[in-house]
């Protein structure tokens, strides 16, 4: 194998760095770059993986540095270790303090709150003299030691910082490639769909932010021990901006981009040797230029120049679509049961008096609906009659103004989307909401759930349980792909696929959740007749798996063919309900669709 050899050579080269560089000044810069690498990696977790903008990393960096300094100043280097851990814990907790209230809200609140937090901390560092010594700073921070050995010079410190960076990189890579990495990417690409696919959006964002703050705290502790003196003017907004540009230059969301960016931006100004103000000027302009002309950073640029999708993406989208989906060879675990048998049980979905108002507009008005188990229930109505709003209400995206929703015997009126999803309710979106930076398989993997779920420690340590879970998830996702007949496209990025296939992937994403009820929001929109045929096949087979289907659709031939029961909505109210034949002849329905005069003329015609 060539790859391990190359990696070994690279590792040896990195380890040899302190022997090649003899200038202490340059070695110091290398160490500073390592610390900045930690900071950029930390910011990249929030910004790149989770897609949340945080502007307070200088504060976390500072909290970490002060925590470490207060614990170990004028004392033994052995105290580096408890100080290091404490720095991580304190910053992690302050991250949670900011993250918990703001990450539940829209994206920009985190940006504002972290910016404010950075300012608060700056004032505290400056003014809380009893603890931080204000402008005088804290000096006498010892070099880290493990008892018999002290990392006293820049050469030995290099290995300490490198080891810590390596551990952090390993952990972030583990996370990035695990289910958590996928969930974070899903949140970044389409937060709503991540939620309705069962990803606990708030919790995951908060954890990612807490982890990120923790790593910044580690970096702060290392910094304090490297420089041995800290003062408040180190931890100002400029540092945040600097970290931000490092992430951007290296490549936002990539694994190694932040490290590359940190080294580039640490050494570049040294080689340019310009004054601080000119440097900052170039810096600011550089950020603007980068975001406009090189949005993915250097590594992103490299990745894009390689052929599509990296290794394994052999199948080009044109080559792959199949005329008809193959029969599902392997039976999913969900019991296959005939459609008729399930009629006796309570309805799977029951709404009573469900109402939602947007300002003065009543979009859904005291709507009662009962969807029987094992049926295909269609919800139709003219545009703007409240069908999609209804789906959004049931899936937890909107909160009802009045009324109740019972799903599978549980009241879900005020439940968060992912809890509803976990209870067994899946949906698709009318205006596709796929995770567009992910491959087809990863899209479906986001929604798949294993019987026994591994936690964060399991994933970080790579325990057998976590690996077994990942294998099970992949098996289930493959099953889902086969179900819609798109197995050949597994490694293609979804954004490269044509419209029909994207719709089918939404169906597959709902299918792998093994739901009790699937709500399909206009799945046939934009499809041609033969594509609709394939969709019908999918819907019918889904019902054969025992999944109940609530179908919102404008394509009447499709509805008439598959629906067991139809409910008609107009202006948010139910105007008719019955089997397809009854609905077709219902005068109210005809009036709603064709208008009063035309329906009268039609009636006269029939009479004559």
């Amino acid at each position: 194998m060539r790859k391990p050899v190359v990696l070994l050579i690279i590792a040896a080269a990195i380890l040899a760095v302190p022997f090649v560089i003899h200038s202490n000044y340059l070695l110091r810069l290398v160490n500073v770059a390592l610390i900045y690498s930690l900071l950029s990696v930390s910011l990249n977790i929030v910004l790149g993986y989770a897609g949340q903008i945080a502007l307070g990393h200088a504060a976390f960096f500072g909290i970490g540095a002060y925590t470490a300094a207060l614990i170990s100043a004028d004392s033994s280097g052995l105290l580096f270790w408890p100080g290091f851990i404490a720095a991580g814990i304190v910053t992690g907790l302050s991250g949670l303090l900011i993250g918990i209230p703001t990450l539940r809200l829209k994206g920009h609140y985190l940006a504002l709150a972290t910016l404010g937090f950075g300012e608060i901390m700056r004032h505290i560092f400056f003014n809380w003299r009893e603890v931080t010594h204000g402008m005088d700073g804290i000096g006498g921070i010892p070099a880290p030691s493990v008892g018999f050995f002290t990392f006293a010079n820049d050469r030995s410190f290099f290995y300490l910082a490198l080891a810590i960076l390596a551990v952090v990189m390993l952990a972030t890579m583990r996370i990035e490639r695990s289910k958590f990495g996928r969930y974070l990417a899903a949140i970044r690409d389409a937060e709503l769909a991540a939620g309705t696919s069962g990803v606990d959006v708030s919790r995951l964002k908060i954890i990612a932010f807490g982890l990120s703050a923790m790593v910044a705290g580690f970096a702060g502790s290392l910094y304090a021990h490297l420089i041995t003196f800290i003062s408040p003017d180190t931890f100002v907004f400029d540092v945040t901006a600097q970290i931000l540009s490092m992430v951007l230059i290296g490549g936002i969301g990539t694994t190694w981009g932040p490290v590359l960016g940190a080294f580039l931006l640490t050494f570049l100004p040294e080689s340019l040797r310009v004054s601080q103000a000119y440097y900052q000027l170039i810096y600011g302009a550089g950020i603007v230029m980068l975001i406009i002309f090189l949005p993915m950073g250097l590594l992103g640029l490299l990745q894009r120049m390689r052929p599509s999708g990296g290794p394994g993406a052999a199948a080009e989208p044109q080559a792959a679509p199949q005329a008809a989906p193959p029969q599902v060879a392997e039976q999913p675990v969900a019991a296959k049961r005939p459609a008729g048998e399930a009629g006796a049980a309570e309805p799977v979905l029951l709404t009573q008096g469900l109402t939602i108002k947007f300002g003065g507009l009543v979009a859904v008005d005291s709507f009662d609906l009962s969807v029987e188990r094992g049926t295909i229930h269609a919800l139709i109505g003219p545009n703007g009659s409240g069908k999609s709003t209804f789906i959004n209400l049931v899936s937890g995206i909107y909160r009802p103004s009045a009324g109740s929703v019972m799903f599978d015997g549980i009241a879900i009126g005020n439940t968060r989307p992912w809890q509803i999803a976990k209870a067994g309710l899946a949906r698709t979106y009318q205006n596709l909401r796929l995770f567009k930076s992910l491959t087809v398989l990863d899209n479906i993997l986001v929604a798949a759930r294993a019987e026994r779920e591994a936690g964060w420690t399991g994933v970080l340590l790579g325990t057998p349980k976590a690996r077994a879970e990942e294998a099970e998830l992949r098996r289930r996702a493959e099953e889902g792909l086969r179900f819609v007949g798109l197995s050949a496209l597994r490694d293609v990025r979804v954004s490269k696929l044509p419209h029909e296939q994207q719709r089918l992937i939404e169906v597959a994403r709902a299918f792998v959740m093994r739901p009790k009820l699937v709500m399909l929001d206009e799945p046939a929109a934009g499809m041609n007749p033969s594509e609709v045929e394939r969709l019908i096949d999918c819907i019918l087979r889904m019902r054969d798996y025992g999944i109940t289907i609530l179908l919102v659709e404008h394509n009447m031939p499709l509805v008439m063919r598959v629906a067991d029961r139809i409910t008609v909505l107009n202006f948010g109210r139910k105007i008719a309900e019955g089997d397809p034949l009854a609905i077709r002849n219902d005068p109210e329905v005809i009036k709603a669709y064709l208008g009063e005069r035309l329906s009268k003329r039609l009636g006269n015609h029939a009479a004559a």
Partner: protein, 277 residues
């Protein structure tokens, strides 16, 4: 001070409402305006002419800003524009540092008298002037948005740029005008600010942070919210400085910001805080 916050917050909200972009450089635009004002006055122009020149310069700068910073990023995620504006802030701050140096500059006062007294209350004339100008600006803006054809088109574009375009409104131009109005407000704020505070390169960051607090207290996206929030922030600063601690007045202001985020994220005149389906 509250009025200045309100003006900065208002400029920020205008752009947010029209494009859902967060302009983190709004404070730096005010800073630039203050410096331009200083430069023009130092060149020997009369006070009012200098003010007009500054405001006009800022309006033009707004169009350039829009063209360079917003236009290329209009179809990208909101992150891109935020980051670009942060980059611009750093650029602007250091540009000012290079041109005008690190020492705070003083712009002479417009008024001859030092104080105006009402019974026992003593006020600096500048403060009254700021309040008066802010009120005039608010009325003018309200009139522009609600009583003119241009205002109607601006509001239409802010609500739905695509549909507005279909109705024959030049949405791109409307957005450019919105940016122009926003930097115009920054220009006015800069001119008002320069005589009462020292002009330095660090003032922008502080201003935009205060403006954030103002818009969050007032309710994100709400125009009256920005004004009310700004005034609250101004009052709060004074009260905290007088009764609690002048050292921690900023930290306390941000503490209140975070408290508001926890307890009343919708602010006084609230917006929807969850993502739309």
């Amino acid at each position: 001070m509250g009025c200045i916050c309100a003006l900065v917050g208002l400029g920020f909200i205008l752009i947010y409402n029209a494009t859902s972009g967060l302009n983190f450089a709004q404070g730096e635009l005010v800073m630039l305006a203050a410096f331009v004002f200083y430069a023009v006055i130092s060149a020997g122009l009369p006070y009012l002419v200098a003010a007009l020149v500054t405001i006009a310069t800022m309006a033009v700068a707004g169009i350039v800003f829009q063209r360079l910073m917003f236009y290329p990023l209009r179809d990208r995620s909101f992150l891109a524009f935020i980051i670009a504006t942060i980059g611009f802030s750093i650029f602007a701050r250091n540009l000012a540092l290079l041109i005008w140096g690190p020492y705070p500059l003083k712009v002479p006062s417009f008024f001859e008298r030092d104080v105006v007294s009402f019974g026992t209350v003593v006020l600096a004339p500048e403060h009254l002037f700021i309040i008066a100008v802010t009120i005039v600006v608010l009325i003018a803006q309200y009139a522009l948005f609600f009583y003119t054809d241009l205002g109607r088109r601006l509001r239409a574009t802010a609500q739905n740029a695509e549909v507005a375009q279909l109705m024959g409104i030049r949405a791109g131009r409307m957005i450019a005008i919105t940016f122009m109005l926003s930097t115009l407000l920054a220009g006015i704020a800069g001119v008002l600010l320069a005589p009462i505070f020292l002009v330095d390169t660090e003032m922008g960051l502080n201003l935009i942070l205060k403006a954030f607090i103002a818009v969050i207290i007032g309710g994100f996206g709400s125009v009256p919210g920005a004004v009310v929030g700004g005034i609250i922030v101004g009052l709060l600063e004074i009260l905290v400085a007088v009764f609690v601690s002048s050292v921690y007045k900023d930290a306390i202001a941000f503490g209140i910001l975070i408290l508001f985020l926890i307890a009343f994220p919708q602010g006084i005149f609230g917006e929807r805080i969850a993502e739309r389906a």
